[in-house]
C-alpha cells in the first residue's frame, strides 16, 4: 500500500455545486473522504433579529426569502404561526388557495432539487428538463402574486388577492402533465446505468442516524420512516385530502432522489382535490392594521415544508413587534448529517450527497 498524506479540499463557499454559500471542508486521503466539516454563515442575514424590529405584517416578505425555491411554504408557516398566536380564523376559500400554492411550491422546490442533482452529476440536460417544467409554476405565481420567485401572496388572515381568471385552467393543465414529467425525469436519469451507479449505495443514511440528527422531510422518508407533518400534525385543512407518503428503504442518494419524484406526483393529487373542493367566498378575514398579541404569549407552529419540518417559535411582549422569533430550519438540521453520510466515500460522492440532501442556504444560515 502506498503511503499518503491527509489533505483538505475546500468545496465552497464559491463552487458550482454547493447550492449557494455552503462551505464544506473535505479532509481527504487520496480520493477517499475521511471527514467533512460544514462551515455555515456565508448567507447569514440576521433574519431572526430583523423580526424584532418589524411589525407582524411587515415581516411576511422576509420569510419568503428563507426558502426562496419553495417561496410560499415558509410564508405559509409564518402566517399560520401568527394566526395561532392571535387566534385568527382563515376563510375556507383562502385555505384551499393556500394549499394549492403550498403544493405548487413543493413541486417547484423538488424540481429544482431534481434538476440540480442532474447538473451536479454532469447530466446537463436533466437540469433543463426540471427548469422547463418549473417555469410553468413560476408563471402561475406571477399570475397570483405579481412576482415570480418571491411572491408574498399568502398573508396573515388569508391571501393577498383572489385568484385571477386563467389560474384554474393553468393549474389544471399543469397537474395533468405531472405524470408525464415524472416519466421524463425517470426516463432520462433514474433509468440510466451511470446514474444508478453513481447514486446507489452512496451516502447511506440509516433510520437511526436520521432520527438522532433530527433529519426530516424527503431525506427522512427515503430512510424508510413515513413521517410527514401533513399527516402527523395537519396544519390548515390538510386532513381533508387523500394522499400517500412516498417512502424508500435504502436511505441512499437514489432513494432520496426517487422520493422527491414521487412526492411531485402526490402533490399533484392534493392540488387536484383542492381545485375540486374550492368553495366561493371571502379570501381573507379582517385583520387589524396593528396586531398586538397578549403579552408573554408564545407559540410554536410547524409545517411540512419542501425540505422538512419548518417551525416558527414566536414570543410576544404585547407590542406590535415580536419579542423573539426563531426559525427551525430543516435545511440546517439536514445538513448536519452530511459528514456522517460522506465518510468513506470518494470525492465525487460528496457532490452527490450535497445535491440529494437538497439544502437551501437561505434557510440554514438565516
Amino acid at each position: 500500500m502506498l503511503e499518503s498524506d491527509i489533505y483538505t479540499v475546500n468545496v465552497g463557499p464559491i463552487h458550482p455545486s454547493t447550492h449557494g454559500g455552503l462551505h464544506a471542508e473535505a479532509i481527504m486521503d487520496g480520493e477517499i473522504i475521511e471527514n467533512v466539516i460544514v462551515h455555515l454563515g456565508y448567507v447569514h442575514r440576521s433574519v431572526e433579529k430583523i423580526a424584532e424590529g418589524k411589525t407582524y405584517q411587515q415581516y411576511v416578505p422576509y420569510t419568503a426569502r428563507l426558502d426562496y425555491l419553495a417561496t410560499n411554504l415558509p410564508v405559509l408557516g409564518y402566517c399560520q404561526a401568527v394566526e395561532k398566536l392571535l387566534g385568527i380564523e382563515v376563510p375556507e376559500r383562502a385555505q384551499y388557495i393556500r394549499v394549492i400554492m403550498a403544493e405548487l411550491s413543493r413541486i417547484a422546490s423538488h424540481q429544482i432539487a431534481i434538476s440540480a442533482t442532474g447538473i451536479d452529476l454532469g447530466a446537463t440536460t436533466g437540469l433543463m428538463y426540471g427548469m422547463r417544467d418549473r417555469e410553468r409554476i413560476m408563471n402561475i405565481f406571477e399570475m397570483t402574486g405579481g412576482q415570480r420567485l418571491l411572491s408574498s401572496y399568502i398573508r396573515i388572515g388569508g391571501v393577498a388577492a383572489d385568484i385571477p381568471d386563467g389560474f384554474i385552467p393553468a393549474v389544471m393543465s399543469l397537474v395533468q402533465d405531472i405524470p408525464g414529467m415524472m416519466d421524463e425525469y425517470n426516463g432520462l436519469m433514474t433509468g440510466n446505468e451511470i446514474w444508478a451507479a453513481r447514486m446507489q449505495g452512496v451516502g447511506i443514511l440509516t433510520p437511526e442516524t436520521a432520527i438522532q440528527y433530527g433529519v426530516t422531510g424527503p431525506n427522512l422518508r427515503a430512510s424508510g420512516i413515513a413521517y410527514d407533518l401533513r399527516r402527523a400534525e395537519p396544519d390548515g385543512i390538510y386532513h381533508r385530502f387523500e394522499f400517500d407518503i412516498p417512502t424508500r428503504n435504502g436511505g441512499d442518494s437514489l432513494d432520496r432522489w426517487q422520493v422527491r419524484i414521487d412526492e411531485i406526483g402526490e402533490s399533484g393529487r392534493i392540488i387536484e382535490q383542492a381545485l375540486e373542493g374550492m368553495p366561493n367566498g371571502e379570501i381573507s378575514t379582517r385583520v387589524p392594521k396593528v396586531l398586538k398579541p397578549e403579552p408573554g404569549k408564545e407559540v410554536y407552529h410547524r409545517i411540512e415544508s419542501a425540505k422538512g419540518e419548518l417551525g416558527y417559535y414566536i414570543v410576544s411582549d404585547g407590542s406590535s413587534k415580536p419579542y423573539r422569533l426563531h426559525v427551525r430550519a430543516p435545511s440546517f438540521i439536514n445538513l448536519m448529517v452530511l459528514p456522517v453520510i460522506c465518510r468513506g466515500g470518494v470525492f465525487q460522492d460528496l457532490i452527490t450527497n450535497i445535491a440529494t440532501l437538497d439544502p437551501i442556504l437561505g434557510e440554514s444560515d438565516r
Binding site: Y7, V9, P16, T124, M128, F347
Partner: protein
C-alpha cells in the same frame, strides 16, 4: 470536382517551378502551404463546430441556443473569440510560470499534429506515412502531458486533481483504444491509412469489426475527455479541473485543442471503420467530411444525454470490460483470418 484540391496543388507547384524555383524547394513550399491551409481549416471548422454543439445541445434541452448574432446566431462564436482574445491574461503568482504558459501551446500543437496523417480524400494527405495509424495513436496520447503540465503548473488543488485523473484515465483508455484498432491492422496488414481506406472498397470495417468499433468509440470518448468521461474538467466537481486557473486565450487554446482532437478522432474513426473517403457520386473529400460530422454528432448526442461517470467506475470499466473485450476481439479476428485462409477465401 473530384481532383479539385489535387489539381490546385499541382497548379501551384507548377507555377512555382515556372518562376524558376528548384522542384525540391517547390515541394517544401507546398508542404508549408498545406500546413497553413490545414490550420486555417481547423480553426474555421471549430468555429462552426462550437456553434453546432450549442445549437445541438439547445435542441436536446428544449432551448433556443445562440440566436442573436447573425442568422441562427452563427456569428456568436466569433464574438466569443474576440471576447476571449481581449480578456486579461492572468498568471497566478504561485504558478510554475514556464509550465503554466507552455501547457496550452503544447496541447494545441499535439492536436494539430494529428491531422498530418488523416487522408482527407483520394491522395489528399499532408504526409502519406507508412506507420500513420501508429503515429496517430502515439501523438494522440501525448495530450495527457499537456493536461498534467496545466494541472501541475497551476499550483491549485482542483487543477492537480483534474490532471491526476486525466493521467489515470488516459493511461487506462489508451490500451483499449490501440487494441481496438489492432483488428483492422491485422486484416489489412498495413498501418498506412490510405491502404486501410483502400482495403474497405467492398466491406467497411464497421461490418467486419463491430465490437472494435464500439470499444474504440467508448475509449475515444474517454481519450477526448468528453462527457460522460469528462473527469479532468468536471466543472461541477473540480470547478474546471486542469483549466481552473486559465483565462482568456490560454483557456481558449485548451478549448480549441479539445475540438481539434474531436474532429481528428472522428475523422480517424471514419477512415478506419466507415470506409474513409470512399463513397458513390460525391467527391471523396466531401464524403470524409460527411462521415466525420456524422460521428461528431453522435459524440454530441452521448455527451448531452449521459451523466458523468464516477472515477473508480471509470477505471474498473476500462480494465474489467474494455481491455478484455478488445483483447477478445483480437483473438476472434485472428481466428477469423486463419479460418478464411484455410477455406481459401482470402
Amino acid at each position: 470536382m473530384e481532383p479539385l484540391f489535387i489539381n490546385l496543388a499541382e497548379a501551384f507547384t507548377g507555377w512555382m517551378i515556372s518562376l524558376g524555383l528548384d522542384p525540391g524547394w517547390a515541394e517544401a513550399v507546398l508542404l508549408v502551404v498545406k500546413w497553413i491551409i490545414v490550420v486555417t481549416i481547423i480553426t474555421v471548422n471549430i468555429i462552426i463546430l462550437i456553434w453546432l454543439e450549442r445549437k445541438v445541445s439547445a435542441f436536446f434541452q428544449e432551448r433556443l441556443g445562440p440566436n442573436r448574432l447573425g442568422p441562427f446566431g452563427i456569428f456568436q462564436t466569433i464574438a466569443d473569440a474576440i471576447k476571449l482574445l481581449t480578456k486579461e491574461d492572468i498568471v497566478p503568482s504561485a504558478a510554475d510560470k514556464l509550465i503554466f504558459k507552455t501547457a496550452p501551446m503544447f496541447f494545441i500543437v499535439v492536436a494539430v499534429m494529428l491531422y498530418t496523417v488523416i487522408p482527407m480524400g483520394k491522395g489528399m494527405q499532408v504526409i502519406n506515412l507508412n506507420v500513420g495509424l501508429l503515429f496517430f495513436i502515439s501523438v494522440g496520447s501525448l495530450s495527457t502531458i499537456a493536461l498534467l503540465m496545466a494541472g501541475w503548473g497551476s499550483n491549485n488543488k482542483w487543477s492537480l486533481m483534474g490532471a491526476v485523473r486525466s493521467v489515470a484515465q488516459m493511461v487506462s483508455y489508451a490500451i483499449p483504444l490501440a487494441f481496438s484498432l489492432l483488428g483492422v491492422v491485422m486484416i489489412t496488414g498495413s498501418l498506412n491509412l490510405q491502404d486501410i481506406v483502400l482495403a474497405q472498397d467492398k466491406w467497411w470495417f464497421v461490418i467486419l469489426q463491430p465490437i472494435a468499433f464500439i470499444t474504440y468509440f467508448i475509449a475515444a470518448t474517454a481519450e477526448l475527455n468528453r462527457g460522460p468521461f469528462d473527469m479532468p474538467e468536471a466543472e461541477q466537481e473540480l470547478t474546471g479541473g486542469a483549466y481552473t486557473e486559465y483565462t482568456g486565450m490560454r483557456w481558449a487554446l485548451f478549448f480549441l485543442a479539445e475540438y481539434t482532437n474531436l474532429v481528428a478522432v472522428s475523422a480517424l474513426m471514419a477512415t478506419v471503420f466507415l470506409g474513409g473517403w470512399q463513397g458513390p457520386w460525391l467527391p471523396s473529400w466531401l464524403w470524409i467530411i460527411i462521415k466525420t460530422y456524422a460521428i461528431i454528432l453522435v459524440f454530441f448526442w452521448v455527451k448531452w444525454t449521459f451523466p458523468r461517470i464516477r472515477m473508480d467506475h471509470l477505471m474498473s470499466f476500462s480494465w474489467k470490460v474494455l481491455v478484455p473485450v478488445s483483447l477478445g476481439n483480437i483473438l476472434l479476428t485472428g481466428a477469423g483470418i486463419y479460418f478464411c485462409r484455410w477455406m481459401g477465401w482470402c
